[in-house]
Amino acid sequence: MVTQTKTKVDENGDLAVLRFEGDITSHSEEAVLGKYRALNAATKKILLDFSKVPYLNSSGIALVIQLLMAANKASQKVVCFGLSAHFVKVFTMLGLAKYTSLHADETAAREAVG
């Protein structure tokens, strides 16, 4: 059963953390892109927290890719953490390494983003 995506946003200076909860699917546009677009204009570093995301389908991954492309265009650094081993492989397979880095937890992600 597909659950509705919720996103909690923590902003601190130029760093923002988007904490997703629930499956990310075609119904998650507001939770992914909507929350990204609503971030403070001064945001330069973005952490995407997938630790409470059990499943992303292809449409949901498309939303994440759109976020990564938009952030790349805006010269923002994006770091992901909390992905399951399956989706780490999927993200790697999708060639997203050029646009984001994948980390096990938030501490590692915060270190990576500097």
Partner: protein, 601 residues
């Protein structure tokens, strides 16, 4: 006729039961003014109009006074005297010589309205004066026609408490008879509620049908409350009060119905509606609170109509009728029922029946239209599926040194996966497998675009093919993307592969290490690199294999897929489908023609 005989048989004989009797029936003075001074025995009521009690016809709605003076006969001096009052109104108080001696019901609150019985009250002890000045302060409420059948009843002072059982049974029987049209309304409303809920089960996105079912059944409950009240001796709550709760429920359902019609889905409005109903249930809010809420519903109806005027006009008009009659129940500005051939007919429920019949008709018409539309769409999907099957290449191909097998099982009528192959003039086999993000017709259309581009592609280099496809698809994916893997198998056994975000192929049971570029259609200038492969039997899959999920939500996953990657295309597809298909499944196997047997491994 049977009823008339029954009425005649049950006619009471009060004097025979009670001995000495001071009859108060006959001419009384009546004033529609409401002044406490009218209880004064000295008040001069000669200018008032004359009426007769028991009522011979239904008295007007409102508050009024009835007065009568009567001489007590010599010798009429019982130890305790009793006053018997017929069904004069829903609330009343009786004064004898200026002293209040009897009270029934509660003025200004129809929820406490009394059943239309004759009632007997003991008078204060002591000898009766020579003349009795009887003043009755009455409130005739327009609420409970079931409880207010006025013709008939006893008005008397007696020497002992009379038995009124037969007379009241007679009144109850007449009340039940009087309720016949409302019982028909109740049955109709119940049938409508069931119909609406059945329609809702057929179309769960039409939430207004659910609310309409609740509205009709709560209106029906009002009639049930009254009927139970006149049928049961020990009805748990005063009938008007329980009907009042049912009315509050129907008001809440009406508000929800209007919101559903107007497509208003604001959570706080739902909260407000049900808080109101809960408050009614817990606090027994004043009658005016009901009128205030029903007025708010009327305003909501206007706003809803402003917001969604394109809905059927007749439906809005009928909703207006129902809402206004609801509003009137609390306001009491107009009668809530009309008399038809001696029977009372509730106007709100009648308006609701009209609305129900209208909406049932419109719902059935829409259901049939939707069915026709679904059949048409199913036909179009079938046609699209046929076109897609024609576009995709044959499931098996042979190209000199290489044999190809393919299995494609879309999750819906049309799929977002595709595979394609071509033999080049030099005998090489070019194989492409891809997956459009999303499902359904939109994905299928993009598949057609991709296949069309592949058919026109002259290059046989995997990386060049992906670059060309990316160029053609960028800007046309509607925010989605296409993962794609392209491989070339030369006649001399050389193999090369390029990947655009697609699951890597398997080579003799091991995942091929291949540099993956971005999926197609994401950025216009994406670059793709070719990697060599060394084996003799290869398996290409779509993510529908890896992401097949069982009932526990457990994915088939990369490891299990790798372990079965030496099987035939059909076996791999079957295993994924049996695990739990939730996406298109595509498996393509390519093996050296010199290998023995048709099945890999």
């Amino acid at each position: 006729m049977k009823l008339l005989l029954l009425l005649f048989a049950c006619a009471p004989s009060l004097s025979a039961q009670t001995g000495p009797l001071l009859d108060l029936s006959g001419e009384w003075r009546m004033s529609a003014d409401d002044r406490p001074a009218y209880a004064d025995p000295q008040f001069d009521d000669r200018t008032w109009k004359t009426v007769r009690l028991p009522w011979t016809q239904r008295p007007p709605i409102g508050t009024y006074w009835l007065r009568r003076g009567v001489d007590v006969p010599v010798g009429f001096s019982p130890a305790t005297a009793f006053l018997t009052v017929g069904p004069v109104g829903e609330a009343y108080e009786v004064y004898i010589n200026g002293e209040r001696v009897a009270v029934a019901g509660k003025f200004g609150d129809f929820r406490e309205a009394q059943l239309a019985h004759s009632r007997t009250f003991p008078l204060p002890p002591g000898p009766l004066p020579a003349r009795l000045h009887v003043a009755v302060h009455v409130e005739r409420m327009d609420v409970a026609q079931a409880l207010s059948l006025f013709p008939g009843g006893t008005y008397a002072v007696t020497g002992s408490a009379p038995s009124l059982v037969d007379e009241n049974l007679l009144l109850l029987l007449r009340q039940k008879t009087n309720q016949a049209p409302n019982l028909v309304l109740w049955a109709s409303l119940l049938a409508c509620a069931l119909l609406f809920w059945l329609l809702w089960l057929a179309e769960k996105d039409r939430v207004e049908l659910w609310w309409l079912g609740l509205l009709t059944i709560s209106r029906g409950a009002i009639h049930i409350c009254f009927y139970l009240a006149i049928s049961l001796d020990s009805y748990p709550l005063p009938a008007p009060l329980s009907a009042y709760f049912a009315h509050a429920l129907s008001s809440a359902a009406l508000a929800e119905l209007i919101m559903a019609f107007a497509n208003v889905r604001t959570w706080w409005m739902h909260g407000l509606v049900w808080s109101y109903w809960l408050l009614h249930l817990l606090l027994r809010l004043p009658v005016r609170a009901s009128a205030l809420f029903d007025f708010a519903v009327l305003v909501l109806l206007f706003l809803g109509w402003q917001r969604n005027r394109q809905r059927d006009r007749l439906t809005w008009v009928t909703l207006l009728l129902v809402t206004m009659s609801h509003f009137n129940v609390g306001l009491r500005a107009l009668p809530t029922s009309i008399e038809v051939n001696g029977y009372d007919l509730n106007l709100t429920s009648s308006a609701l029946i009209v609305l129900s019949v209208l909406l049932a008709f419109l719902s059935l018409r829409r259901l049939l239209a939707d069915r026709r539309e679904k059949q048409r769409l199913a036909g179009e999907l079938e046609a699209a599926r046929t076109v897609q099957q024609l576009l995709l290449p044959a499931a098996a191909a042979q190209s000199g040194a290489w044999d190809l097998d393919a299995v494609y099982e879309p999750a819906q009528e049309v799929g977002g996966d595709f595979h394609w192959n071509r033999t080049t003039p030099d005998g090489s086999l070019v194989v492409v497998i891809g997956d459009v993000s999303g499902k359904g017709l939109k994905a299928a259309m993009l598949v057609s675009v991709a296949i069309g581009a592949l058919r026109n592609e002259k290059s046989s280099s995997p990386a060049a093919i992906l670059r060309a496809l990316n160029e053609g698809l960028t800007g046309h994916t509607g925010g989605g993307f296409v993962t794609c893997c392209c491989a070339r198998f030369d006649a001399d056994g050389t193999t090369r592969v390029a990947n655009a975000g697609h699951p890597a192929p398997y080579d003799d049971g091991e995942e091929v290490v291949v540099e993956s570029g971005l999926p197609l259609g994401v950025v216009p200038d994406a670059d793709y690199q070719e990697s060599p492969m060394k084996g003799e039997q290869f398996v290409f899959i779509s993510d529908g294999v890896i992401e097949s999920a069982n009932a526990k939500g457990e994915l088939l996953g990369f490891d299990r897929t790798r372990q079965m990657s030496t099987r035939s295309a059909q076996e791999i597809a079957d295993a994924a489908r049996d695990w739990g298909q939730n996406d298109d499944i595509t498996v393509v196997t390519v093996r050296r023609a010199t290998l023995p047997g048709k099945v890999l491994a």
